[in-house]
């Protein structure tokens, strides 16, 4: 009889835990898709963070998640371009100014070419062009960063763009 006590306790404990488990499961049942999708990207945490911060992600398919990421590329490019333009107005060393001008061109290309073609490709069902667009956004950011002789005033932005672009490309890849 004393033998059954631990077993009984264990059983009761399991019921207790499992009933709690049912309470813990999140209501958003697209969380699973987001997790699965983000697991196949180079940066799971950042991927989850970005997607979950957008309310559209709760009922998006993979194409929808990719479109959310492209939107993030777009908004980051806009913010960075504004910062670049502010910096250009200030007094700069010639090489710094040259690097900033080059960066402006790079971020403009993201906005003018990469984002529109990625959106169109995802919506129209030929996602490979969105993969190209995302990959190119990363190249533009990295090239911008490498253009600075001294310290880059845009490191945070360039690294962020690179990471977001890499995640986007990896999500699009899942559609191919």
């Amino acid at each position: 009889m004393t033998n059954f006590k631990p077993l009984a306790l264990t059983i009761i404990f399991c019921f207790f835990v499992s009933s709690h488990c049912t309470i813990i499961i999140p209501k958003n049942n697209n969380g699973n898709l987001i997790q699965q999708t983000c697991k196949q990207t180079p940066n799971y945490e950042i991927c989850i963070q970005y997607l979950k911060s957008d309310p559209r992600s709760s009922d998006a398919d993979i194409t929808g998640l990719a479109l959310i990421m492209v939107d993030i590329i777009k908004s980051k490019a806009n913010t960075t371009l504004n910062k670049i333009n502010q910096l250009i107005k200030k007094k700069q060393e010639p090489s710094q100014k040259e690097a900033l001008n080059s960066c402006a061109g790079r971020y403009k290309a993201i906005l003018v070419a990469d984002v529109p073609k990625s959106v169109a490709a995802l919506k129209q069902g030929d996602p490979k062009f969105a993969e190209d667009g995302a990959n190119d956004a990363a190249v533009e950011a990295t090239t911008c960063e490498n253009g600075f002789k001294g310290k880059s005033p845009l490191s945070n932005e360039n690294i962020a763009m690179h990471d977001v672009a890499a995640i986007t490309a990896a999500i699009v890849k899942q559609l191919l």
């Binding site: 040259e98 061109g105 290309a109 070419a113 030929d126 190249v139 090239t143």
Partner: protein, 655 residues
């Protein structure tokens, strides 16, 4: 400009150089004035010329030493640091699928390479098809009609990147000189509102022309539509009519609405019906659907599929055609018979490569069976091991040949494309025949009409190239060239080499910098004299464990440019070399595109190259041999190529 990252860099003018004015270490743009002082190129003469060129190396006093015997032929050894990449671009080690993505790599001290207009303007080609501006991708509906070659293509009239796709149109008498015509089709119907996408032409026995193409509808469904010329008596086929009851095909229920595109040219079945195929996928298995029709307006879905290969993903731009196993001519798409094999080709969405397989076709069973199941569609041979996608053939009835078109995309950044205002080229059209000697692959070769662009020829005969050396070929500026070359490795060198289990893979080899006993050797194209930028096209031979030689053919972009935002992969593959064959290659250099063919077109590699320095008069051509043991003898013909003046013609048509 510092050309190397090595502090004890060799004096650049220790190379065999052209007999020109004093060489100075300055930026190439400024040195243009100096190049004008160069004496006339001794082109067209034979051995004597090449001897003079190779021997005429310069001391610092400006004298040219002319030597007359072969023993005096001084070849320069190339310091090893010249082979290592100066700046990391997109390196070969990164898989091709993510080859545009690279981590925040070594900041090379703020070396900024903004693309200036001079560099960008040089990139436009002289004799490859491209529109005047903006974006182009897949070739569409190529055909020959009433004396004219017609070419249509995916085009964005609004920008240098994909989007707003419509059908561009151009015509030519010879596949080389093109005249741009008005757009053939635009997105003006609900069934192609979101894209007038890729399609193929079928010419009926009565002369009717049928165009089937994919439309992305207003509801974003991929459908197939019928179009035909408004006026068949117009040889230029300017105007096109879309069938009022389009679409003629919608995705079948088991296929996703966005996995249904690129209908093929039709072929006649023995029942007298027309049969087409459309690529798709089920999960990750690429498949080719089959439809029959009598009138191209109503279609019957044929049970089964033409072929399927697991794990290959979406099949785009399916092409299916017969080749003669006996004759070196092309066959009509409907041809059949005993001496006929079939080619099934697909473009894989997953990796942006075009694959093909040779096999047999059972019409009744609707079955394509590859000759070699280890080299199936999508897992085996590629038309081209470089940048080459969405290709499509057509039967040219006027010359009885099958001609292959392919889209050659850019390998640079979007920023540069937007700045230069255009993106993408077409490869030079190629004829396709069955390789009777190997029996297991196709041969591709630039159409003969391209040879009409050849101007003066420089001939080099039996140039011996010692291990570890580089030889400047005195041909003058080298941005537009047609090169045919043969290489021979000294038999003694081959015999004394040990056998090895080495498996050479161009893509992961590290390129021409990595020396083997019997390779690499070949040519450096788009190279500046100081070799700060160059693109090796080379053979690499391995003596295998049974004494047999295995040959690879590669194009190495790792040092093609000092810019950091261009692709620097190494492309290539093995190439069959049969008993008694010399190693032979052909290279078409046309500014930012290099197309290379080995062994008569058994292995082909197309590359995009974007030098910052090796442009205009600074672009040169070298022979090189970076093998450790093999002495190589090379004979070549190098032709300067004329422009095809493609974008100089404006056709004004009455509206």
């Amino acid at each position: 400009m510092d050309r190397t990252n090595n502090s004890n860099h060799d004096v650049p003018f220790s190379y065999v150089s052209l007999p020109i004015g004093p060489h100075e270490d300055e930026a190439p743009v400024e040195s243009r004035g100096k190049w004008k002082a160069r004496p006339v190129v001794f082109c067209g003469l034979l051995v004597l010329v090449s001897l003079v060129a190779f021997n005429g190396y310069k001391g610092s006093n400006g004298n040219i030493t002319t030597l007359t015997s072969n023993e005096d032929l001084k070849q320069k050894t190339i310091p090893s640091h010249k082979w290592k990449p100066v700046s990391r671009g997109v390196s070969a080690g990164v898989s091709e699928k993510s080859n545009r993505l690279f981590t925040k790599s070594n900041n090379i001290g703020g070396m900024l390479f903004p693309w200036n207009n001079t560099m960008l303007a040089w990139q436009r080609t002289a004799f490859h098809f491209q529109p005047e501006e903006n974006w182009m991708n897949d070739p569409n509906g190529p055909l020959y009609y009433k004396g004219w070659y017609h070419f249509f293509y995916q085009y964005n009239p609004n920008g240098a990147f994909w989007g707003d796709i419509v059908w561009g149109h151009a015509v030519s008498r010879d596949l080389i000189h093109w005249i741009h015509l008005p757009l053939a089709m635009v997105a003006d119907e609900w069934y192609d509102q979101n894209g007038v996408w890729t399609g193929s032409a079928t010419i009926l026995p009565n002369g009717d022309i049928i165009m089937l193409y994919t439309g992305a509808t207003d509801a974003l469904v991929q459908v197939q539509n019928l179009a035909y010329p408004a006026d068949l008596s117009d040889p230029l086929l300017i105007d096109w009519i879309k069938y009022p009851k389009n679409p003629v095909l919608v995705p079948p229920p088991e296929i996703e609405v966005y996995d249904f595109r690129d209908p093929t040219t039709a072929w006649l079945t023995s029942q007298g019906k027309w049969r087409i195929s459309i690529g798709s996928k089920m999960n990750k298995t690429g498949i080719a659907l089959v439809y029959d029709t009598k009138d191209f307006k109503t279609f019957e879905r044929i049970e089964g599929i033409l072929h399927a290969v697991p794990k290959t993903g979406m099949w785009e731009c399916v092409d299916f055609f017969p080749v003669s196993t006996k004759l070196d001519i092309g066959l009509d798409t409907s041809a059949r018979g005993d001496d006929v094999k079939y080619v099934m080709k697909v473009s894989l969405d997953d990796d942006r490569h075009d694959y093909y397989a040779l096999g047999t076709y059972d019409e009744n069973g609707v079955d394509f069976v590859p000759d070699d199941t280890n080299k199936d569609v999508g897992t085996g041979l590629r038309y081209d091991y470089g940048v080459f996608y969405a290709s499509k053939t057509f039967y040219d009835q006027s010359k009885e040949r099958r001609v292959l078109w392919s889209w050659i995309g850019e390998s640079d950044s979007e920023d540069a494309d937007v700045a230069k205002g255009w993106a993408s080229l077409m490869g030079i059209p190629r004829t396709i025949v069955f390789d009777k000697k190997t029996g297991s692959n196709l041969l591709q070769w630039p159409v003969e009409e391209v040879e009409r662009l050849r101007m003066k020829r420089c001939k080099f005969h039996n140039e011996k190239v010692m291990p570890g050396s580089v030889v400047l070929l005195n041909i003058g500026s080298a941005s537009q060239l047609d090169i045919e070359a043969e290489f021979n490795i000294d038999k003694k060198d081959i015999e004394k080499i040990k056998q090895t289990n080495e498996e050479y893979n161009c893509e992961t080899s590290g390129g021409a910098a990595n020396r083997g006993a019997l390779g690499p050797f070949g040519l450096l194209v788009l190279a500046d004299e100081g070799l700060s930028e160059y693109t090796p096209i080379y053979f690499y031979v391995v003596k295998g464990s049974n004494g047999n030689l295995k040959t690879s053919f590669c194009s190495d972009q790792s040092r093609s440019s000092l810019a950091t935002d261009v692709d620097k992969s190494i492309f290539g593959s093995t190439v069959p070399v049969l008993e008694g064959e010399k190693l032979s290659l052909r290279i078409l250099v046309d500014h930012s595109i290099v197309e290379s063919f080995a062994q008569g077109g058994r292995t082909c590699v197309t590359s995009r190259v974007y030098p910052t320095t090796a442009i205009y008069e600074n672009a040169q051509l070298f022979l090189f041999n970076n093998a450790t043991e093999a002495t190589v003898t090379a004979s070549l013909n190098v032709w300067h190529m004329n422009s095809a003046f493609i974008n100089d013609k404006q056709v004004k048509l009455k509206s």
